[in-house]
Chain length 249, copies 2
DNA sequence: CGTAGTTTTGAACTACTTCAAGGCGCGTGG
DNA sequence: CCACGCGCCTTGAAGTAGTTCAAAACTACG
């Protein structure tokens, strides 16, 4: 985990958001001015947790929402028959728990993919936050919308795309996230396993392996273990949208 | 359109929800008591519109959310490359516009599949409604959650299911909706085209046709035009979850 | 009653899966 | 610190479900 924002472990910090590096990305429109004041009362930084930690499990009562601050996680949906589907990968500034806004029971599980840290927002405090700062409510809904759109995109990708398109699109997605966070968008840390990726984009793990190989052969990328480098972002992007491959050189 | 609730065309009705047949389904927890009072001020019934009417188009500014009262509609997402994906089919009591909660611009288009009627909730009134009746806010979020879960289900179905499973699951989904609305759950009106169905469950239209034929041959269902009857709901449900087909009799 | 659009049916094709085995990396324990 | 073992990942070969292309049948609608 190379460039993750250094986390400041705090006991009873007064204004947790004030010195957060992710502040400009977290609630872009509302972290200025008043918000920080209100938010300080309810958004609580938590100590980092190791890889494989469950933030919550599907079926247990909703107690909190979270904002990921460093590291990464996956959201997993378990079906009645025991099959597991990965609904999304989560990165810093992501609001976690968007699928459980009804505030009854968590509808998926969230597990860290590496050592990660979070901010916690207890549901009991949510109503207060909304009341004390009405605009924040819209910002919150915007986060929810963003997740819906992301999941829709993932679904469209499943419906109408070839293996190459899906893989390319997935890589572009990760790259864009890195860019948003101000990191190098061409150096991807695949913190998730190949199985996770395969599950997420609806392919067999073997196919994931083969497609990566193919991209590698075409010089689009290079892969070593969990470190992936994008060499030709434009062509990769083209593969992601146009099923037409950028041929073999 | 057989059993759809009769719509009362109203000019300036005082309390639109009071005599709505769908009331028990619309906001189950909140249409009692006070809610109706607050809601009356902002939720406005609209005159019915013919088939093919756009409630809104992807990209245009968000002005209103809607509740479908009678008929049916589809939500369509247009990709950059012009491909269209059907994200959901909408039925009475559904909240329409859940993917545009950020209140910027509609992120999909919604078109009626038959003569349909709606209630309208203008975004400008939304904040007022939330303020005047805080619990309604949670009910609203619950509706949003419900849609997210529905779309997740649709996605999981795409990831891990055979054509038979997808089709069976789709039919079960429709059947369940009918049941919720108090109609005969075994008499389905396929108001959408085979192309729409194919798009929705991620298959070629030809495959949809073939699968329906197969189900028909197995006596699970019978199909005539757009009228579909479920004969063996239990077996159909089994096909939906267990890829294992209920064999050939 | 004819025409356009939708649905069904048929036959060939192909992209991905599945099954099987080998290699590699990483963590553990000696 | 090095060796071992387990799990993850890759590679290969065969099988198949669903797509694609093409055309006929049906429906709806003027």
């Amino acid at each position: 985990m190379p460039d993750t924002p250094r986390l400041h472990v705090v006991g009873q910090q007064q204004r947790p958001c004030d010195d957060c590096r992710l502040r400009p990305n977290c609630f872009p429109d509302h972290l200025q001015g008043e918000f920080a004041h209100h938010a300080a009362n309810v958004i609580r930084p938590r100590a980092p947790v190791p890889r494989g930690t469950y933030l919550f499990r599907q079926g247990s009562p909703v107690t909190s929402f979270f904002f990921l601050r460093s590291g990464s996680a996956k959201s997993v949906l378990t079906e009645g028959d025991g099959r597991e589907s990965i609904m999304s990968f989560l990165f810093p500034t992501d609001l976690i728990g968007t699928a459980s806004m009804d505030q009854t029971v968590y509808h998926d599980s969230v597990v860290t993919l590496e050592r990660s840290s979070f901010c916690e927002l207890r549901v009991n405090d949510l109503a207060d936050l909304f009341r004390s700062d009405p605009p924040i409510q819209r910002a919150f809904l915007a986060k929810v919308t963003s997740r819906i759109l992301n999941e829709r995109h993932a679904r469209v990708r499943l419906e109408h795309s070839s293996a190459d398109e899906r893989m390319a699109d997935f890589l572009v997605e990760l790259s864009d996230r890195l860019l948003e966070l101000g990191r190098d968008p061409y150096e991807l840390q695949l913190t998730m396993s190949r199985y996770d990726i395969a599950n997420y984009i609806g392919l067999a793990p073997e196919t994931v392996s083969r497609v990566l190989r193919r991209f590698s052969d075409k010089q689009l990328i290079s892969v070593r273990h969990k470190q992936l480098t994008i060499h030709q972002p434009a062509r990769l992007r083209k593969v992601a949208t146009t099923s037409a491959d950028a041929s073999a050189d």
